[in-house]
Each structure stands twice: as structure tokens, then as C-alpha cells.
């Protein structure tokens, strides 16, 4: 039942804020998001680390078709539920020094987004998953297109059409899978994801279903060459929307790979997994190289995110337990880091009105707090040991390396390139002589500090004691490996 609350509460809060929020929308949204965080935190800490689905609910939805409203939290969902609960209050808090026009609509859309994301990460029914997967797109589209930059309309439109185009293929695959399921007690077919896992599909079917799913998720993440919507959308969106996109929404794609592709079409992964990893690795290197050349901070972070998510995809497709575990914990870590980085860019932009690196410099001189937080976030992003990025990237690289040494080596460049572009950004913006724009730079305000503090705590917590997070995913991942293992064995 807790899951139902996690999904419904933000939606109800959003509706209330939309109609009655007025000028107090900001505070209301923060309050609601903190309450949601408390629930997500409770779910995380009282989660029993086994493979079962907990706090679940299950109601008939379209009875005669066997489609159910069914959701719960298992070891694969739990970190993402935590991430969604954790980031939203601080994304809301990060807007406290800004005023957006029509605040009630703005914050209501953010909470709607959170509700949809919670639904995506907890759905146990294939069609319910699809519903939330698409529903998450609508609030973010309006957020980006109503409050974005000058070029927002064509850019967000491309984003919207591109992603929905991808998910339509997923819908076809889901309907196909649905019709393959055997009759249940109440209906001729079942759309429970667990029933999809049990299917024995023909190799041809597995191959095309692999692509139907992969295109949907690859566009969402994005994986090379489906990434062309991403940098522009990230740059044109208002920063809170960018944080939602990069921090949480991108994880829908990686989550989908783990939840759907690996267990449902293991033969498809067998055949096409290598192609997928190669595409991911190309994305890692390509994104990193472009990031090095960027002058706009937001665009740089966008490409870095593109590069990082490539590694997660590669780790998942390595079909190893470490790769999968790494992907799960890296999703949490990357969400935290990328939100921190975008917030740094936003803080700098709010004071200097520019994000161009060559117009910045010398900010450290007047901002001890910002410098420290920026540095910590940055170290997390470049995967320094004892920070959160290290745990995830190490496990991911280990997974890819086990799968194929050369690909592991190529993917390893992410750490070197990551250090190059991140440190370059830090150096250009924070060190050197001050410019006309950065002369009167003021340090963080209290509300801004309170965005960073919990993120920094998480960076070190995951970095120093990842066991808290790894232990909850362990048995679910092991369980998932069984589906991959059995088919691989039966092949031989």
C-alpha cells in the first residue's frame, strides 16, 4: 500500500497546488516533496533485502483482459524510488531564489512528474509501466516548453516526438508479449511483467522485441546514435526541468533495460547485446570528447551525462551481476551528481547571467562554500575513490571488462576523459582572474546551501559505505540473473 501512496500523494498534492497554490505554491511543493521523501526513505530503510516485491498493491483494472493496476517495490526499484524521492525536494528547493511565472502550474507539473516517475519505477504490469512511461513525458514537456529558453519550442517538440516515437515500438512489443501469455484464472492473457519473464519466445521474436524495447529505452537514456535530442533539450529547459530530465528521467531508460530487455529476451540480448554495448561505448567516448570542447557549462554537463549513461547501458548489457549492480548504484549516484552539477551551473548563471566558460573565472576568491560543494560534486562525477561515482563506475567497468577486455578498456576512457572535461570546467570557471561578470560574485545563500548539503552527504555515504545500497539490490539482481542464466544454459 505504501507504493500506492508514493504514486498518488504527489499527484494529489500537485492537483491541490495547481488549484489553490497561488503564491504559496513553492512552499507547498517543498512540503509535499519532503513528505514524499520521508515515505521513500521509510520504504528504503524498511525494505527487506530479498527478491520479493514489497509494499505492493494489486487491483483489477481492465478485468476481462487481465490487465491489473499492480505495483510494488523490489530490489531493482528500491534505489530508483529513493532517488526520485530524494531529488525532487532539493530540485524544488533549488528554485527558491528564482521566480517563475505561473508558479502554481510550474510546481504542480513537477509533482505530477514525480508521481509518474514513481509509477514507472514500481509498476508490475507491463501496460501500467507503459502508461506511466508516457505520462512522465507530458509534465516535463510542458515544463521545458513553457519556461525554457528562446529556442524552446522546436527543441522540446523534437524531444517529445522523438521519445514518443520510440515508446510506440515498445507498445507494439508489449502487446505482442501480452498475447503470448497463457490464460490465467480470470482472463485469456496476462500483462504482469512476471508473466512476461516466463515466456518462451522464438529466437526471431526475441530479436525484434529486443529492438523494439531497445529503441524505446535507447532514445530515453540516450544511447548513441539516438542522442540528438538531448543536448539542446537540456540547454533550453529551465534548470529544474533539466535536473528532472538528467537526474531521474534518463534512468527510466536504464531501468527499462534491466526490467524488460534482459529477463524477457535473453536470446535477443545474446544476439544483439554486443551491438548494444558497442553503441554504448561509442557514446561514452563520443560524448566525452564533445564535452571537452564545450564552452557552455550546461551543454558540457549534458554531454557528460550522455557519456555516463553510456557506461550504465554497457554495464547492463555485459549481463554480469557486477555490471547490473553497478548500473543500479550508478543510477543513484549519477542522479545526485548531475543535479548538483546543474545546480552549480544555475547558481553561476543566476549571478553572472552567463554560462560561457570564457566569460567566467576567479569565482573561488569570494565563494568558499560554492567552491567546496562544487569540488565535491565534481569529484563524485569523475569517480574519485571514496565518492559515489567510484563505486558505480568501478562495478560497471568490471562488468564490461569481464564481458570483453577490449570494450572494457575503451569504456575505461570515461574516467580519464571525465576528469579532463570536469576539471577543465572547474578551472575555467572558478580559478584565474575575475572577469567583469564575476567581480561581485556572492557566495551561496542559506537555501542554496541546503540543496548541496544533503547531496554532499549522499556523495560520501555511497562512496564510503556503499553496502547500505548494494545490499538491497543484491538478491533481486541475483534473481534476475537466473532468467538470463537459464536460457543461456538451455541454449547450449
Amino acid at each position: 500500500m505504501l507504493t500506492l501512496f508514493l504514486i498518488l500523494f504527489p499527484a494529489v498534492a500537485a492537483t491541490l497546488i495547481f488549484f489553490f497554490g497561488g503564491e504559496r505554491a513553492k512552499q507547498g511543493a517543498l512540503l509535499a516533496a519532503l513528505a514524499e521523501l520521508a515515505c521513500a526513505g521509510y520504504a528504503f530503510f524498511s525494505f527487506k533485502p530479498d527478491a520479493s516485491s514489497q509494499f505492493a498493491f494489486d487491483y483489477p483494472w481492465i478485468g476481462s483482459l487481465g490487465i491489473r493496476l499492480s505495483a510494488g517495490i523490489d530490489g531493482i526499484s528500491v534505489l530508483l524510488v529513493l532517488l526520485t524521492g530524494l531529488l525532487v525536494p532539493f530540485i524544488v528547493l533549488s528554485t527558491f531564489n528564482r521566480t517563475y511565472k505561473q508558479p502554481a502550474t510550474f510546481y504542480a507539473l513537477m509533482l505530477f512528474m514525480q508521481a509518474a516517475l514513481m509509477g514507472v519505477f514500481t509498476a508490475r504490469d507491463g501496460f501500467l509501466f507503459y502508461l506511466f512511461f508516457e505520462a512522465a513525458l507530458i509534465p516535463i514537456y510542458f515544463l521545458a516548453a513553457m519556461w525554457g529558453g528562446d529556442n524552446r519550442i522546436p527543441v522540446t517538440f523534437k524531444f517529445f516526438v522523438y521519445t514518443i516515437f520510440g515508446s510506440l515500438f515498445m507498445l507494439v512489443a508489449l502487446v505482442y508479449l501480452y498475447y503470448q501469455t497463457p490464460p490465467t484464472a480470470v482472463a485469456a492473457h496476462s500483462s504482469a511483467i512476471a508473466d512476461f519473464y516466463k515466456l518462451n519466445l522464438t529466437p526471431q521474436a526475441e530479436n525484434w522485441i529486443f529492438w523494439a524495447f531497445f529503441i524505446a529505452f535507447a532514445i530515453k537514456m540516450p544511447v548513441f546514435p539516438f542522442h540528438t535530442w538531448q543536448p539542446d533539450t537540456y540547454v533550453e529547459s529551465p534548470t529544474p526541468a533539466t535536473m528532472l530530465l538528467a537526474g531521474i528521467m534518463l534512468k527510466m531508460g536504464v531501468y527499462g533495460l534491466i526490467r524488460f530487455i534482459l529477463p524477457i529476451v535473453p536470446l535477443g540480448v545474446e544476439t544483439w547485446g554486443k551491438t548494444a554495448i558497442i553503441l554504448s561505448v561509442i557514446g561514452i567516448i563520443y560524448g566525452a570528447i564533445i564535452a571537452i570542447r564545450q564552452r557552455d557549462m550546461k551543454r558540457l554537463i549534458a554531454y557528460s551525462s550522455f557519456s555516463h549513461v553510456g557506461l550504465m547501458a554497457a554495464g547492463v548489457f555485459s549481463q554480469t551481476e557486477t555490471g547490473m549492480q553497478g548500473a543500479l548504484i550508478q543510477m543513484l549516484a549519477h542522479g545526485i551528481n548531475v543535479v548538483g552539477m546543474f545546480f552549480v551551473a544555475d547558481v553561476i548563471f543566476s549571478r553572472t547571467n552567463t554560462r560561457q566558460l570564457d566569460q567566467l573565472g576567479g569565482i573561488t576568491q569570494s565563494t568558499p562554500k560554492l567552491t567546496v560543494y562544487f569540488m565535491i560534486m565534481l569529484l563524485g562525477s569523475v569517480a574519485l575513490p571514496l565518492t559515489n561515482g567510484f563505486v558505480g563506475e568501478f562495478l560497471l567497468l568490471h562488468g564490461v571488462y569481464t564481458y570483453n577486455h577490449y570494450l572494457g578498456l575503451a569504456a575505461g576512457f570515461t574516467i580519464i576523459f571525465g576528469a579532463v572535461y570536469m576539471l577543465r570546467m572547474f578551472q575555467k570557471s572558478m580559478f584565474g582572474p575575475t572577469t567583469s561578470r564575476t567581480e561581485s560574485f556572492t557566495d551561496l545563500t542559506n537555501s542554496e546551501s541546503w540543496v548541496f548539503i544533503p547531496l554532499v552527504v549522499m556523495v560520501f555515504w555511497i562512496g564510503i559505505y556503499p553496502h547500505t545500497f548494494l545490499k538491497v539490490t543484491e538478491s533481486a539482481v541475483a534473481n534476475l540473473m537466473k532468467y538470463i542464466g537459464t536460457t543461456a544454459v538451455s541454449m547450449k
Binding site: G63, E134, A135, I138, A145
Partner: protein, 467 residues
């Protein structure tokens, strides 16, 4: 068959009401008549009757279709308030014709004998020709009516020819008789196939499937908007109900013959409807092509005729009708206010997408209603349109027609493009939109349509017990 009798009587009554000085009573009277008919329609629930010497067969499915048609008519009439202010308009005649046309629609839905199908199609069509040309002083309206009439009359001829051939082949006009012959598998006369094809051409013309769609854009564009809304919903629903009854009762036996033809028509309809809609600058023309494309989605269910088809067609027609009416309802208000409906000398209408610029900021309710209906037509989840597409796609998957599905999916993506142009114009573009005064009743109708769309989107199972 009370609805037919009631609608005829009410229609005549309306004509007499037109003699009264005040026109104000006409609209509420029509709405009341429609509600009474709608209630009476359900008297035969869970029973199957043959009426008028086996001419009509009423079952639950027919009643559901009749209810959709009457409900659509109710919504359209409820949105037609502007006739009162217009001196040229003849509301009594319009409402009378609408009720008469519904008699035709009911016959098309409940026919058991091909003669009834023909009479129904004719009653509905002739009424439509008149309504299309009802804007007497408008060249475009006249042109549309003439075009519709000439092409409609021609295809009706083809349809009648087809029926004659079917009679020649089977010796029967009833669905059961033809079905019995077609199921006999061997020694089927060639006349049966030719007759079926000709009959299909007639009906596909009415639902504007490609390549019989050429009349649609001009007619939809030229007709007064309120009648475009009526045409694009009632005629389509009745047409698909007739097609479904015809194919599922009489021609299941020769499914292998007609499904490929229908599947190709479906693909062509989807492609032409969607791609052409994407190039339109006028909202009304876009809606015309979009209605062609929706005929394509509905045809998927027929080409993949199976256990799911019934449900799919009912759900889709309902979702489509509600969303279309609410879209046209908003267009009516916007056009009235901007006075863009005044046709320039060259006869070019100016109901462009630009008319919606900045609408949502000044009129949040209109913006929201329009957004929901566009999302529903585009098939985005949490709206009824999504489940409509879902059911349709399911039928195709069940029959293994994956290639058709791929076409449909690609075209859905195109659909999102043109439906979102409206949303973008309303929310993100700046325009000189002023607050539009919306009558309370009008507001409730739009709200009801919006809530219905969202409600069916969240709980599509609601309709399930119905048939």
C-alpha cells in the same frame, strides 16, 4: 424500435416548434428529445428483437452504438447555441434535419436486411448534403454540398448495384441469408465477391477511407463547423457499426478474400490521412484529414476481425467522437470571437492554427479542453484515445498482422506532430488572444467531454459491462 419512431415524431414536432416566435425553445427541446430517445433506447437491454418483419435486429451492441450516436448528437447540439443570434439561420430546420438524419444512423446500425442499410445510408446522407449547404450565402458551403451530393449519389449507386449482385448470388437480402451462403465454402458465385466489393466501396466512402476520401477535406472545410462536428462523428460511428455488422455477420466465411483488400485500404488510409494532415495550415482541414486517419485506425480492427474487434470499435468510436466534438466546440468559440470564420472574397477560410495562439493563457478552460482532446486524438496515455489505439493494435497483433501495425505506429508518431501544433500554439506562442466569454452551459458540455475522455483514459474498464 422506439428510437426510430420517436426521432421521426420529434423531428416533425421540431419543425412545428419553428413556427413559434421565440427561437430560444428549440435548443432545449432538441436536447430533451435526444435525452428521451437515449433513455428509451435502452428499454430493450439484454434482449434481442427483430423488428418490422425482420428488417431490423436490435441487440446490446446495436444499442451501445445507437447510444454513442445519440450522445454525440446531444453534445453537438448542445454546442450549437450560436444559431439564435444569427438571423440567417433556420434552427428549427437544422435540428429537425439532425433528428431525421439520426433515424438513418439508427437504421444503419441495426439493419438486418440490406434494404434497410440502403435506406439508412440514404436518409443519413441526404440530411448531410442539406446540412453541408446550409450556409446559403457562402460559396464554399455550396460547393461542398454539391460535391458531396454528386460523389455521394454516385457511390450510393455503386452500393445499390453491389446489393443487387449479392441478391443475385445468394437469393437473399438478409444478413443471415447471405451469411449462410457465404459460409458454405464451396462453389461460391463470383457475383458474391463483386457484390461485396461494391458494397464495401459504398460504405468506405461514407466513412472517408482512402482512396474514397477525396470529398472529405472540402466538405468538412466548407460545411459550417457545427455540422462538420456532427458529420465527422455520427456518420463515422454509424458507418463503422454498419461495416462491422455486415462483415462480422455475413462475410466471416470469406474473410480470407476481403481481409487483404481491407488491410491495404487501411494502410493507405493511415498514410494519406496522417501525412496530408501534417501539411495543413487550417485547423479545420487538419481535422478533416485527421478524421480520415482515424477511419484508418478503426479499419485496423475490421481487417483483423476477431473476438476483440467489437470492443475495439465501440471504444474507439466513443473516444474519437468525444474528443472530436470537444475540439470543434473550442474551434467554434475561437472562430466566433476572432471572427475568422468570415470568408474572404476569394473564398479562402482563415481558420488557421494561428487563431489558437496564446489561447490557453487567457482561457485556461478552453485550452485544457482542447489539449485533452488533442492528446486523446494523438493517443497519449491517460486519455481515452490511448486505449482506443491499444484495443485496435491488439486486434492486429492477435491476427498477426504486424506489418499493418508498424504502419499504424509510424503514422501515430506523425499524428503527434500535427496535434501538438495546436497545443504549442495555445500554450507557447504569444497571440492577441482575449478572454472569450463562454456561456455556462457551453462550459459544462466541454467539461463533461473532457472528464469523459480522461475518465475513460484512467479506467477503460468502465465500459466493459456494457456489451
Amino acid at each position: 424500435m422506439l428510437p426510430i419512431i420517436l426521432l421521426s415524431v420529434f423531428g416533425i414536432a421540431l419543425l412545428f416548434l419553428g413556427f413559434m416566435k421565440s427561437k430560444a425553445i428549440l435548443l432545449p427541446a432538441t436536447l430533451l428529445f435526444l435525452l428521451v430517445t437515449l433513455a428509451v433506447n435502452f428499454l430493450d437491454w439484454n434482449k434481442t428483437y427483430l423488428y418490422f418483419n425482420d428488417m431490423l435486429r436490435v441487440n446490446n451492441l446495436a444499442m451501445v452504438f445507437i447510444a454513442i450516436v445519440l450522445g454525440s448528437a446531444f453534445l453537438v447540439v448542445a454546442l450549437s447555441g450560436s444559431f439564435i443570434e444569427n438571423d440567417e439561420a433556420q434552427p428549427a430546420e437544422y435540428y429537425g434535419i439532425i433528428l431525421f438524419s439520426l433515424v438513418g444512423a439508427v437504421m444503419m446500425i441495426a439493419f438486418e436486411n440490406l434494404i434497410m442499410l440502403f435506406v439508412g445510408v440514404e436518409i443519413l446522407s441526404v440530411a448531410m448534403y442539406v446540412l453541408t449547404g446550409s450556409d446559403k450565402r457562402n460559396l464554399r458551403s455550396n460547393e461542398a454540398a454539391l460535391k458531396y451530393f454528386l460523389m455521394g449519389a454516385f457511390t450510393t449507386g455503386i452500393m445499390l448495384f453491389g446489393m443487387a449482385l449479392l441478391y443475385g448470388a445468394t437469393g437473399s437480402f438478409t444478413l443471415a441469408g447471405i451469411g449462410g451462403y457465404a459460409a458454405s465454402q464451396q462453389g461460391l458465385s463470383l457475383l458474391l465477391y463483386v457484390g461485396l466489393l461494391m458494397l464495401l466501396i459504398g460504405l468506405l466512402f461514407k466513412v472517408s477511407a482512402a482512396p474514397f476520401h477525396f470529398w472529405t477535406p472540402d466538405v468538412y472545410d466548407g460545411a459550417p463547423t457545427i455540422f462538420t462536428a456532427f458529420m465527422s462523428t455520427v456518420v463515422k460511428t454509424a458507418g463503422f457499426a454498419a461495416l462491422f455488422r455486415l462483415l462480422s455477420v455475413s462475410f466471416v466465411g470469406v474473410y480470407n478474400f476481403w481481409w487483404t483488400i481491407l488491410a491495404i485500404i487501411t494502410a493507405v488510409t493511415l498514410i494519406i490521412g496522417n501525412l496530408t494532415a501534417a501539411y495543413q495550415n487550417s485547423f479545420k482541414r487538419m481535422m478533416a484529414y485527421s478524421s480520415i486517419s482515424h477511419a484508418g485506425y478503426l479499419l485496423i480492427g475490421l481487417a483483423a476481425l476477431g473476438a476483440q474487434t467489437k470492443q475495439a470499435i465501440v471504444f474507439y468510436s466513443l473516444a474519437y467522437s468525444v474528443a472530436t466534438i470537444s475540439a470543434f466546440g473550442v474551434l467554434l468559440l475561437v472562430a466566433q470571437q476572432k471572427n475568422t470564420q468570415t470568408i474572404s472574397k476569394e473564398g479562402i477560410s482563415t481558420e488557421n492554427f494561428d487563431a489558437f495562439n496564446g489561447l490557453a493563457r487567457q482561457n485556461p478552460l478552453l485550452g485544457f479542453a482542447m489539449t485533452v482532446s488533442m492528446l486523446s486524438l494523438a493517443g497519449i496515455p491517460l486519455t481515452a484515445g490511448f486505449w482506443g489505439k491499444f484495443y485496435m493494435f491488439s486486434t492486429a497483433v492477435e491476427r498477426g498482422q504486424i506489418w499493418l501495425l508498424v504502419v499504424a505506429v509510424l503514422m501515430s508518431a506523425v499524428g503527434i506532430y500535427y496535434y501538438f501544433r495546436v497545443i504549442i500554439a495555445m500554450y507557447f506562442r504569444d497571440g492577441a488572444a482575449e478572454p472569450i466569454r463562454v456561456a455556462p452551459f457551453y462550459k459544462y458540455v466541454l467539461l463533461a467531454a473532457t472528464i469523459l475522455t480522461l475518465g475513460l483514459g484512467v479506467a477503460p474498464g468502465l465500459l466493459q459491462g456494457l456489451f
